[in-house]
Symmetry: C2
Subunit: 237 residues, 2 copies
C-alpha cells in the first residue's frame, strides 16, 4: 500500500541517478517520507527508455509516495529535449502510478488540468539559482503561483547573506495569512543551509534531503539521516 497522506513535517529524499535496483531498495527507505525522482538526471545518466521502463516500479507494494520531476535546463535541470516530450515523460510517470508531479509555474493550464484529472498532486516550483529577489518580487511570484491552484508550491533561492534567508522564510507566514496555505520556501547554498530545517518548523509541508549514495541535488542539502536526527532532537518527530 502506498502512503498517500503525508504527515507534517515530512522529509523528501532526492534520487538523481539511482539504477532501477537502487530505486527498488530506496523506495522503502525508512528515513524519508516522500521520494523525489529527478527524471531529468536519470534520463541524462541512463536514457529516456530506461526511465519509462522503470515506471513499472510504481505498481510495487509497500513503497513510499513518489514525486516526479523533469527539470528543464532553463530551470537549472538536465532535461534538454523538447517541451512536449518533457511533459509527456511526467504524464507517463503519473499514468504508471506516481502520486506527485513537480511542474514549473509557466506550465499551460491544459497540462495542469491533465494531471488534476488523473488525481495526481501538483507541486509548482520556482528556483532562483543566482540570488534572492526582494520581498515584493517574491510575494508577487508566490501569489501568481497560487493562482494556479496547485496542491503545494515551492520557492528555492540562493542565499548570499543572512537577510536573504529571512526574506524567503518570511514568505511562509505571509502565505499562511494571505492565502491560508503552507508553502515550501527555503534557501540553497551553505549560507541558507539552516533554512532547510527552519522552513518545516515554520509550516512547510516538507524539506529536501540527500539520499545515501547520491550526491546533493542542490547546494546546502543535508543527508536524510541527519535531517531526521535534527527533527528528532527538536522534538518534531
Amino acid at each position: 500500500m502506498v502512503m498517500n497522506k503525508l504527515k507534517k513535517p515530512s522529509i523528501c529524499g532526492c534520487m538523481l541517478d539511482f539504477s532501477r535496483e537502487e530505486i527498488t531498495t530506496h523506495m522503502r527507505e525508512a528515513e524519508v517520507d516522500l521520494l523525489e525522482w529527478r527524471l531529468d538526471v536519470h534520463i541524462r545518466q541512463h536514457s529516456i527508455e530506461d526511465a519509462l521502463t522503470a515506471f513499472s516500479l510504481f505498481s510495487s507494494e509497500s513503497r513510499l509516495p513518489f514525486l516526479v520531476t523533469n527539470r528543464p535546463v532553463r530551470e537549472g535541470g538536465s532535461f534538454d529535449g523538447g517541451e512536449w516530450r518533457r511533459i509527456e515523460v511526467l504524464q507517463r510517470a503519473v499514468d504508471a502510478g506516481a502520486e506527485w508531479v513537480d511542474l514549473e509555474p509557466d506550465v499551460p493550464e491544459s497540462e495542469l488540468n491533465w494531471f488534476r484529472m488523473k488525481k495526481a498532486s501538483v507541486l509548482l516550483s520556482h528556483h532562483e539559482m543566482n540570488d534572492t529577489p526582494a520581498t515584493a518580487a517574491l510575494q508577487e511570484r508566490v501569489a501568481k503561483m497560487l493562482e494556479r491552484k496547485p496542491d503545494v508550491i515551492k520557492i528555492a533561492t540562493v542565499a548570499r547573506e543572512q537577510e536573504d534567508n529571512l526574506r524567503v522564510l518570511g514568505l511562509i507566514p505571509w502565505a499562511q495569512k494571505e492565502f491560508g496555505t503552507d508553502i515550501i520556501a527555503f534557501c540553497m547554498g551553505d549560507v541558507g543551509r539552516w533554512t532547510r530545517i527552519a522552513c518545516v518548523a515554520m509550516g512547510s509541508p516538507w524539506t529536501y534531503v540527500q539520499m545515501p549514495g547520491q550526491t546533493r541535488a542542490a547546494p546546502g542539502q543535508l543527508l536524510a539521516r541527519d535531517m531526521r536526527a535534527i527533527f528528532k532532537a527538536m522534538g518534531m518527530l
Copy 2:
C-alpha cells in the same frame, strides 16, 4: 586550565539548582562549551552562603568557563534581595574566578567598570517575557545596549507567531552591519524553539541549552546532547 577562548558556535549549558557535587561533575561536561550558573535559582533553592562557599569551585583545574547570572525577579529571575546585594554576589563570583558575568542593561556604569577592571567578560542581556516588540523598538534596545560596550549582548523574547522569530533573528545581521558585532538573539517558547539553532548558524556566539538532570531554564530550550547532535548534523561542529 580554563578554556577562556570560546570557539564558535558554542553551546552554553544552564545550571539552575545543581548541588556543589553536581556542579563539580558538570564543570567538565563534554557536551557544552560554557556553563551559565543561575545563582539566583541556586540561592533560592539552597542559600546565599552555600553559593558563596561553592565559588571555591572556580579555582578547580580543567574546567569549563563559567558565566554567572543573578537574575532579579523584575527580569524573570529568582533573586528577590536588594540590588547591591545582588551585584555583590556576582562580584564575589568574579573575584573567585568566574570568567563571564551576565548583567542587565540598566546596570550602573560604575558596576560595569568594576567587572571590566577585574578582566571579566560582560554579557548584557535583555528579556521580554510576554511577547516580541516591533523591529524599531528591538533595534533601539540593541543600539542602547551596545553603547555600554559589553563583550556580548543577548536579546531573548517570547515568540507568539513566526514573524516574531524572523524579527528577532533579523537583529543578528543588522547588528553585524551597523556595529560590526555578533549578538545573541533568539526567541523563547515552543514557537521560537528553532531560533535557538538558527541564531548560531547566523553568527550568535552561543546558544543556551538544558543540562542533563536540570529542568529547562526557559521555555523552548533543547537538551545539551540534542543541540550538539543538531550542530554536528548541520556540519557546524
